[in-house]
């Protein structure tokens, strides 16, 4: 914008007036920061202070506001002026709360504050006012892929909230695995007996809901677009394709049971009287309350052994390495099928660790009361025969034992129907400890058939389950506007899947609503800025399209990046990746940070006043430093902290610029990366660490010590540690001496 008019406002409240020379700060803003309007106020965030700024915006034409007061995380409501670019200068949490109130440090405290004012003005001068993404869509229909309990629940919940739903199911009927159950594990008091599945009522609910359109025998054969404007092809098995537009997608494609044939040592596939849990449900449904009969000879079953963790929690790498969570409760329920119809049936559950989530402990007790025998042991072999022999090691008595049974039920695990593994080489499945097609017919079918550059399906995290941060941001996937729920996300039982589906429905609604307003989805929810690139400068290196954690960037016919703004989460990982620095956001760019770095006053080599640039992730590290300030934990007055959207957005040019400008150290503070990542943008921190692993060569090229740049993982709870890291850097610099690069 050509006619930038910066207004700088210095607050004197919260002790700022007593601790700092605000008149000098105003002079800095005016002379160095080029602010046309400069004012101070005793209490900037109160009604009068805010009114003063508002008046300048309206009467004086101030369109860039620099507020030198508290952290950008505080008083966001008071300083939330619309239609102007806002920069926050953190004098309270960033300066006076982290420096002692003594005369000796008064000078460097003032220098710190002055630098932050310079940085704020420099940032403001390079910012633009975010314009709403012009290409946003406003479709608010929800597509649910998968008609099991998860998908059905999502559909009902979204419809209840007033949204139109398309429910796509590949088989001929809704209901999924739940519809195949005889009874389900109780989810309400008294947790004593198996209860009705409730499926007929749910089916009726969906049939009678005008907002829900059901597509049976159908799959999603193409998904393109972005939140608010997805275009979907729904193909019928019998042929024929319908194209629909939706605003958000819920993927509830569920699971397949692990194939028992992969467990021949446990009799899987070797005897008809060895079944998995789904097989037993079938037998129980056939019996319908009467005594359950054997598949082989139709004889009434007098003894049954349940083998827990069959092909699960396998450390040998042959079968599933994980626990599927529901199977203990399921076996307890199934043992009750036998005990309830005939208490004289011997029902034995052989387990290594019995885990009963929810209120399963009561259910477990109820089964014990009914006389189900629970034996802690590890089954080594099931010998087929007219009478099956279950050989196991009794783990309490440390004894080899044999249990004889008419029927053996193997508690096999859940294998996610998560589609193709887009990260595997050549698109072939490659999942730790198992081949992903385990339960299916050998070939992996894509669920969503995304036309995205990064692949057809959602990325996976582990074991073939969709990547979805299970604690901080469940349902969030790495494809904006697409939410996964149910056992495709992680193994879970019906109750958990129902909750999951409800959560995913709400996230999908939120995404569609945000998209319709041209705003970003989680975690920069409400952000109106979006990335743009300077086409003439682009070298088509494809780093941005490859590194975008959310697959938001495709390529056009001429192989230039094609930004799908509505898919973007505004992390800036593309901006950090771009070697020619042509990608920027209106209010966050290589320049907005770069000029802040350059605005800092770097004293000469003999001043003994080093400068440490801290690039801190705004999600975790920056709040941690703010909280440290609230606790008055002090850190070096030589640090200059710049919040960044994600460490992934850090362009190495900033570090180069800082070092050539004479900074003595650079600290990058991002979130935990890797498998248990805490990065809000999933891969941002990882990308930053990867990029920074190559900085050593740059440093050596500049004849600088490698210790001057450090990348570290900081959690939001690291309130003590984050200031300590800064102080360590200050000590390191004291040890190795100031940078020789100062002018």
């Amino acid at each position: 914008m050509a006619d930038i008019k910066i207004g700088a406002y210095v607050c004197k409240g919260c002790g700022l007036g007593e601790r700092l020379n605000t008149a000098q700060l105003m002079t800095v803003a005016q002379r160095e920061g080029k602010a046309q309007v400069v004012r101070e106020h005793e209490f900037l965030c109160n009604g009068a202070g805010v009114a003063m700024i508002r008046q300048d915006i309206e009467k004086e034409g101030v369109n860039h506001v620099v507020i030198a007061a508290c952290s950008r995380r505080a008083k966001t409501d008071a300083f939330g002026f619309e239609g102007v670019a806002i920069s926050r200068v953190n004098l309270r949490e960033g300066v006076i709360w982290v420096q002692p109130d003594t005369d000796e440090v008064k000078e460097i405290t003032q220098e710190m504050a002055a630098d932050y004012v310079r940085m704020g003005c420099a940032e403001s001068a390079r910012m633009n006012i975010p314009q709403i993404n012009p290409g946003h869509g406003n479709n608010k229909r929800i597509l649910v892929v998968g008609g099991g309990i998860s998908g059905m629940t999502s559909a009902v919940e979204a419809a209840k909230a007033g949204y139109e739903v398309l429910l796509v199911e590949k088989t001929a009927a809704l209901g999924g695995w739940l519809a195949k159950l005889h009874r389900r594990v109780p989810f309400h008091e008294p947790y004593a007996d198996p209860i009705e599945t409730g499926m007929p009522a749910l089916l009726k609910r969906i049939e009678s809901d005008k907002r829900i359109t059901v597509y049976l025998n159908s799959v999603v054969s193409r998904t393109s677009g972005a939140p608010g404007q997805f275009s979907i092809d729904i193909s019928k098995e019998s042929g024929g394709t319908t194209t629909e537009n939706v605003g958000a997608i819920i993927m509830a494609s569920g699971f397949e049971p692990y194939d028992v044939k992969k467990l021949p040592e446990l009799g899987g596939g070797k005897s008809p009287d060895v079944v998995d849990q789904a097989g037993l449900e079938q037998l129980a449904r056939a019996a319908n309350g009467a005594p359950i009969r054997r598949p082989s000879d139709g004889r009434e079953i007098k003894s049954v052994v349940f083998v827990q963790c069959a092909g699960q929690r396998d450390e040998t790498g042959k079968n599933l390495p994980y626990c599927s969570g529901h199977c203990c409760n399921t076996s307890i329920k199934q043992a009750m099928y036998f005990k309830d119809s005939n208490p004289d049936v011997d029902a034995v559950v052989v387990y290594t660790d019995l885990r009963t989530p929810g209120n399963g402990e009561d259910f477990y007790r109820s089964a014990q009361r009914k006389g189900v025998i629970f034996t802690k042991g590890k089954v080594s072999e099931v010998v087929p025969g007219a009478e099956l022999q279950v050989k196991f090691k009794d783990l309490i008595l440390n004894d080899d034992a044999v249990a004889k049974a008419d029927l053996v039920v193997l508690a096999t695990g859940m294998v996610a129907n998560s589609g193709v593994d887009i990260d595997a080489a050549g698109g072939t499945p490659n999942v730790e400890g198992q081949d992903q097609a385990a339960a299916g017919d050998g070939k992996v079918v894509s669920i969503l058939n995304l036309t995205y550059r990064q692949g057809k399906d959602l990325p996976m995290l582990r074991y073939g389950f969709n990547d979805s941060h299970f604690i901080c941001f469940p349902y969030e996937t790495r494809r904006t506007g697409i939410y996964s729920c149910g056992p495709v996300r992680r193994p879970m039982d019906i109750v958990q899947a129902t909750e999951d589906a409800t959560g995913a429905a709400l996230k999908a609604i939120q995404a569609a609503e945000n998209a319709a307003l041209g705003r970003a989805a989680h975690p920069r929810s409400g952000d109106l800025s979006f990335p743009a690139f300077r086409r003439e400068g682009c070298t088509q290196c494809k780093r941005c399209t490859v590194e975008c954690p959310f697959g938001a960037i495709d390529e056009d016919e001429q192989r230039y990046p094609l930004f799908n703004e509505s898919r973007c989460r505004r992390c800036g990982t593309c901006m950090g990746a771009c070697p020619v620095r042509v990608i920027s956001f209106e209010n966050y760019s290589v320049d907005t940070v770069g000029y802040q770095v350059k605005a800092v006053d770097v004293p000469d080599q003999f001043s003994e006043k080093p400068r440490i640039l801290v690039l801190a992730c705004e999600n975790d590290a920056y709040p941690a430093l703010d909280m440290a300030a609230m606790n008055r934990i002090q850190y070096s007055a030589f640090a200059r902290v710049v919040p960044v959207r994600c460490l992934g957005s850090v362009n190495t040019i900033w570090i180069n610029d800082a070092l050539t400008a004479g900074y003595d150290g650079v600290l990058l503070m991002g979130c935990q990366k890797g498998e248990n990542y805490q990065c809000h943008f999933v891969k941002g921190s990882e990308m930053a660490h990867y990029r920074m692993s190559k900085i050593d060569d740059t440093l050596k090229g500049m004849s600088l010590e490698v210790e001057r740049v450090r990348t570290c993982e900081v959690a939001i709870t690291d309130i003590q540690r984050a200031p300590k890291i800064i102080n360590e850097m200050a000590e390191t610099i004291q040890k190795i001496g100031l940078s020789p690069m100062k002018f």
Binding site: Q368, R369, G371, T375, I396, L397, D399, A401
Partner: protein, 207 residues
């Protein structure tokens, strides 16, 4: 006595858990054990049990009848109640241990020379005689449990304690000559006899 044992083996075949549920005090609780092992870990004598309570419960479910009933383990219980207090499933473990010991004793297959069992027998005889415990006779009886020579030895070893107790009026040597009976000891005998009849009838011991 072993006839009784044979009768029970015949009656319950190989379902020892059912036998325990029907005949052992608090036996129906055995199936509720969830094998956490807190009882075994809490027992002050834990390391000295051949089969700590957790294992006993598992053995019952596994049908190891002889190993359980002929075991010395449950005789180790000193009724400190640590296990009962701590059991997350609220099993009355102490009572079950005593119940098992008592059941084994009544079947006549409890270990003959188990000191706890022998003491319990002495105690019972002692208390049943006068309706109240004659402490002097009980201790002297214990000393001479393993023969005359042993008794003299133990008695001499305990002599200083005895003299001390006598001096402070805590021990009446005349107790050895009898006396100390409670009033109406005969009535107590009748009550106990009746109670035993009821118990035998209930547990199926025709005596």
């Amino acid at each position: 006595m072993s006839e009784r044992n044979n009768a029970m083996v015949e009656k319950y075949r190989n379902d020892f858990l059912k036998e325990v549920e029907a005949n052992v005090e608090e036996g129906p609780w055995v199936k509720m054990c969830m094998q956490c092992g807190v009882c075994s870990g809490s027992c002050p004598f834990g390391p000295y049990w051949e089969h700590p309570p957790q294992e006993i419960f598992m053995m019952i479910r596994a049908g190891k009848r002889d190993e359980v009933l002929k075991s010395e383990s449950m005789w180790m219980c000193t009724s400190c109640y640590n296990c009962i207090v701590r059991c997350p499933r609220e099993l009355p473990i102490t009572h079950i241990m005593h119940g098992l010991a008592n059941y084994a004793h009544r079947l006549g297959i409890a270990p003959k020379m188990n000191p706890t069992r022998r003491f319990a027998k002495l105690f019972w005889q002692n208390i049943m005689k006068g309706g109240r415990v004659n402490e002097l006779k009980l201790s002297v009886g214990l000393y001479f449990m393993d023969g005359f020579a042993n008794g003299v030895k133990k008695g001499l070893a305990m002599l200083p304690v005895g003299i001390g107790m006598f001096k402070t009026g805590r021990l009446n040597p005349l107790g050895l000559l009898g006396g100390g009976k409670c009033k109406g000891a005969g009535d107590i005998h009748k009550m106990v006899k009746k109670a035993q009849e009821i118990e035998n009838r209930r547990k199926g011991f025709a005596s």
